[in-house]
Amino acid sequence: MKVTFPHLGNLYVPIKAMLDDLGTDYVVPPFNNKSALELGTKYAPELACLPLKITIGNFIQAYEKGADTIIMAGGWGPCRFGYYYEMQREILNDIGYKMDMIALDVPKGSFKEIVAGTRKLAEGVKKLAGGWNINKILKAAINTTIISCKMDDLERLSFKIRPREKNRGNTNEIMKEFHNKVFSTYGSSEIKKLIDDTGKKLLEVETDKNYKPLRVGIVGEIYTTIDTDTSFNIQERLGDMGVEVCRPVTISGWIIEHILKGGLHLPRDMRFAEAAKPYLGAMIGGHAQETVGNTVLFAKDGYDGIIQIYPLTCMPEIVAESILPSVESDYEIPVLTLIIDEMTGEAGYMTRVEAFVDLLQKRRESKVIEGRMVLSRN
């Protein structure tokens, strides 16, 4: 059995460590690339959302490298993500890629269905771990969570350092080196050490202490915001333009809030829902509530602007998009919405981002002058 899994930003780091610890054989699919998307576009339904297309591309490319089993998470709607693994199974089956699917899905439904679902889930975990060594499984689960937290901390640190660095490109070099080195590590302890070392290196980067960067909040659908390859590295590029970015939706957040606390029915951090309440009264699936709520929280925190990113036809984000103009005018914070699909051109996309940053810059300058603005044509 050779396991593979879909890419989602830095998700491969904790998953790789987990599979190393469990001693399972695995293939990390090639990083998200154009041909993965082309493969996915060819086989997935035309109007399916982008993440489905990319993950199908991931699986086909991993299959070609020898993978025969897929680990995939599931859910219970209303967002389409919940039905992803069924779609992927059907599509791969139709085009002749025989792959097993281990679905990590919390069982729901009638009592009988829950029992059957739990059995299926347990079988999947057993297959993955190569036996019922509870100690090993728990340890791997805990380490995965810790590494995903560390990874997100590292990413956050890079968002802070990048706009302030004195020599442009230092941070990118360090991060690039990190991603190359991940593949030469084995197991969770080595990865943890690598992350800590990289964090130290980032802190040693020469920075301009007096520079006050523009601050932009990134909200939107989880896949396209977290996966930098899909969003044309927007976070890195904004950093290179001297903009500090913050992205509240993270992998560790998803694991802790959604899977652990949600699965065990523990109270969750619902600040965003509270903030979204006046605009969006209920959970409608996906991350719509997070998008609206975090936009409000960013605005209150004094951020300069918001960028919303989502894949074409994403249902919850369409609702959020139609609500954001109200937040925009209530809190006077500019919002840019970027929609990504397989036809998105990089040049047009970056032009919009650059124009948005220029706008934020001008806004800040005019605030500084305060009312004594002179129109340039006069």
Partner: protein, 346 residues
């Protein structure tokens, strides 16, 4: 003067109008409907709504604009879930918020959440909340709801017996619940099919708000009837058969429409006594993008029934639509006529 409550003629109007109308009128409100979908409503809706939304949601915005200046309340309940363990659609769940934040100067919206995903009891909670806009008496609300439920049940059973909601709703009156003219009579009246053509049984799958709004689907139903087609819709299926069939799925569908469509198809493919399947979807519909693909795969894998997908959006041209429908029907007829001439030994 009675309180005027506006119901936009879009989305779940095609499913729950008898229930809502009866309930609101029993509580003393005056129900006002928006006009039938027309070019103006569509254009205004497209202009006001975000570009990425699907056609029926845009049309719904147009209906709200059509209504907003003539009513005291707008009735747009938040339909999160209308069946156990299932959702409707994120866009419909967020509809009142979409409308509220897109269109300015609206009358108050009745946006009570209807969510019976966990328990049927929540329905009564929602009913009480809606009723409290008009009266304080729980007894009166209960009475009105019971009556409305009865009307809705009658409507549902008329549909299960082969009537189409669009035929009933156009002449729907609360005191005239005679939905009964038999389907045969109705079909003969409404079809001017060419003589000598045999009747085709075609299953047509689509959300009620696409299927029964004759403006946005460009008179699809009329056109099919003129071609001597007997229409079968997913609403006509028996709930028990659907549930039995969907049990065979690897993972249960968590969308109400998805489960019904999937169950119907599995049943129809097994029975194999229909002549064709038409799937009507609106561009950008998230649920259809998955359900349609799954259905297409099943139909291709398990049967030889002809299958066509018609996609509609605000740019759809009628000529293209006609061509596709005609070609599909011709193909079925030729197949019926000629295939029996082919020698069995191929």
């Amino acid at each position: 003067m009675a309180i005027k409550v506006g119901i936009p003629r879009g989305l779940f109007y095609y499913r729950y109008y008898p229930l809502w109308k009866t309930f609101l009128e029993e509580l003393g409100a005056e129900v006002i409907l928006s006009d039938y979908t027309n070019k103006h409503i569509l254009d205004e809706g497209v202009k006001s709504c975000v570009d990425e939304a699907c056609l029926p949601v845009k049309v719904f915005h147009g209906h709200v604009l059509n209504l907003k200046d003539r009513v005291d309340y707008l009735f747009i309940p938040r339909l999160t879930s209308i069946s156990k363990n299932e959702y409707v659609c994120p866009k419909i769940g967020g509809l009142p918020d979409m409308v509220r934040n897109t269109i300015k100067d609206l009358p108050e919206i009745i946006n009570t959440e209807i969510n019976i995903r966990r328990s049927e009891k929540n329905m009564w909670k929602a009913v009480k909340e809606i009723g409290s806009y008009f009266t304080d008496s729980k007894f009166q609300i209960g009475k009105a709801y019971n009556k409305a439920r009865k009307v809705q049940d009658k409507f549902d059973s008329a549909i299960r017996n082969g009537r189409l909601p669009s035929d009933i709703l156009n002449s729907f009156q609360m005191n005239n619940l005679n939905f009964s003219p038999g389907r045969e009579e109705d079909r003969v009246n409404s079809s001017s099919g060419q003589r000598g053509q045999s009747l085709l049984n075609i299953l047509i799958i689509g959300h009620p708000y696409n299927l029964y709004d004759s403006y946005i689907n460009m008179n699809l139903i009329k056109k099919l009837r003129e071609n001597n087609v007997n229409l079968i819709t997913v609403e006509m299926q028996d709930e028990n058969i659907i549930n039995q069939k969907t049990k065979t799925l690897n993972k249960p569908m968590f969308w109400n429409f998805g489960r019904i469509a999937m169950g119907t198809i599995l049943h129809m493919v097994e029975k194999n006594d229909i002549d064709g399947i038409i799937y009507l979807m609106s561009f950008g519909c998230g649920i259809d993008s998955f359900v349609c693909d799954l259905i297409e795969k099943r139909v291709k894998r398990l049967s030889t029934i002809p299958f066509i997908v018609l996609t509609i959006d605000e740019h759809s041209g009628e000529a293209g639509m006609n061509t596709r429908i005609e070609a599909f029907i011709d193909m079925i007829r030729w197949r019926k006529k000629d295939e029996s001439n082919v020698s069995a030994l191929r």
